[in-house]
């Protein structure tokens, strides 16, 4: 009896181990990750642009976010490369270096170096002004670290051209690991957003869409449409939450994954527009792209 129990446990352990290795370490081609790399680099440049205009007002020697402000704000374990930049020239130099790294990531130049350094730059920038950070910045940080794990420079990249490789690079387990991490994060972020929203009455009584649309900062003015019909307001509100739940759960099923991942390419940007967070919507769409299954073999 004890032997049978032991052998069942061993079989279960072996099955779990096989499944674990299959999910995380199956070699994957670099094309999908390369597209994620280009899109993330492009989004990083756009977001960096939004920091650039007021860089000195925030981080300059006489800027608002002074070292004293950071002391009251940041976790003791937080670090930023910008902490050593005390002059305007040094702040700009660090910032422009980061922009160059994001540009290199976008085109896939020196990717093995550019990817981790771009992630490091991004984390440093966010730690320099944590009270200015939005959800798109957070999601981009996650994507950049995932890219640093994989080999996104093996396709659609300047690196690939330089290497003279006309054909595709061999699939790598690092790409599989990076895509797996991106999928886990996509599901976790969608689920966490849905859980956070369902704590508030406005997401249950169906009026949250109104409060999103009625902000002055919204990019798409839906107030006329929503004020005219409570049913439409309710539909938009509930659709956002249902989409997030469907996305978080759907990317784990082989039948639903192609549908919800592709729906995410449209759904997330739409939610971003309605919510006044278009960059967050774009960042989530990049994660959705990482979830679209390869044609073959099925991961």
């Amino acid at each position: 009896m004890a032997d049978r129990f032991r052998s069942s446990i061993a079989a279960l352990g072996a099955a779990l181990s096989t499944e674990w290795n299959r999910f995380w370490f199956t070699p994957a081609p670099a094309q999908r990750l390369a597209v994620v790399r280009s899109l993330a680099g492009g989004l990083g440049l756009l977001l960096a642009w939004s920091w650039a205009g007021d860089l000195m007002a925030w981080f300059g020697p006489d800027g608002i976010v002074s070292p004293e402000v950071l002391k009251a704000w940041r976790s003791p374990t937080a670090l930023s490369l910008f902490d050593v930049a005390r002059s305007s020239a040094a702040v700009w130099a660090f910032f422009l270096l980061g922009v160059v790294l994001l540009g290199m990531l976008t085109v896939g130049a020196m990717t093995p170096i550019a990817a981790p350094l771009a992630a490091l730059f991004w984390a440093s920038l966010l730690h320099r002004g944590p009270m200015l950070v939005g959800p798109a910045d957070d999601v981009l940080a996650v994507i950049l670290w995932c890219l640093a794990v994989g080999r996104p420079g093996d396709a659609l990249a300047v690196d690939r051209r330089r290497a003279g490789g006309a054909g595709a690079a061999a699939p790598s387990w690092r790409n599989g690991l990076a895509l797996g991490l991106l999928r886990v994060h996509a599901a976790v972020i969608a689920a966490a957003a849905a859980v956070a929203q369902l704590k508030a009455d406005v997401w249950w009584n169906g009026t949250a869409a109104w409060f999103l649309a009625a902000r002055e900062s919204t990019r798409v003015d839906l107030t006329g449409l929503l004020a005219g019909s409570e049913i439409v307001t309710n539909v938009v509100t509930h659709a956002i939450v249902l989409f997030e739940i469907a996305f978080a759960a759907g990317v784990w099923n082989r039948w639903t994954r192609p549908v919800v991942a592709r729906a995410g390419l449209v759904g997330w940007p739409l939610i971003g527009l309605v919510a006044g967070e278009p960059m967050w919507g774009a960042a989530m769409a990049i994660l959705a792209w990482a979830c679209v299954p390869e044609e073959a073999p099925e991961r």
Binding site: I64, P135, V184, L212, T233
Partner: protein, 196 residues
Amino acid sequence: MLLVVYLVGLGLCVAGNTASGTSHLVGTLKDRLFAPWMVPLWLDLGHDTRLTYGLPEDADHHLEIRPAVSRPARQGNGPATAVLRFPATGDHSERGARWRRLAVATVLAEEDAEQAGVLPAAIGAALFRVAGNDDLEVRIVRRVAPDYESARSLRRDETALEVRVRRRDGELQLIPLPPAEEVAPLVDTAPPGGGK
């Protein structure tokens, strides 16, 4: 093994960074074992993107900076003063969104003993040169949307925070300003010739 550790850390970060608070157990585990290496990488994230709860703090906020003047002057009985607004009216860009986040963070920080007053003072001090004045009023305005039931109404502006920041003899001073109604001039309603 590293992957398992990271996934556990990810779960604890999501559970430990919610607006609802976190348990002592989760908080301790996260802070002791994961925060030291996940915080520097900007991976200690809750991802609880609520978008809105329909609360005043979810409304758009902006900063208004003006030279400090006496209350009656500001209420229309004195010379008009130039007002700097961050972000500018109609700025829907991500850059504008960062100013709005700064404004919200400034208001919310007033509830934290360690952070209270830090940002208003920093904002005022940083803008002395821009405003050309060493005595400024920093006002954070929230533009509250009407409830759905009164959807046709206009948004209304509320003062979420208002302080005076000035530099005297090189020293920065922060003077909280009470709401306007608390300092409105008293109207003598006693009948002519004395009441009693």
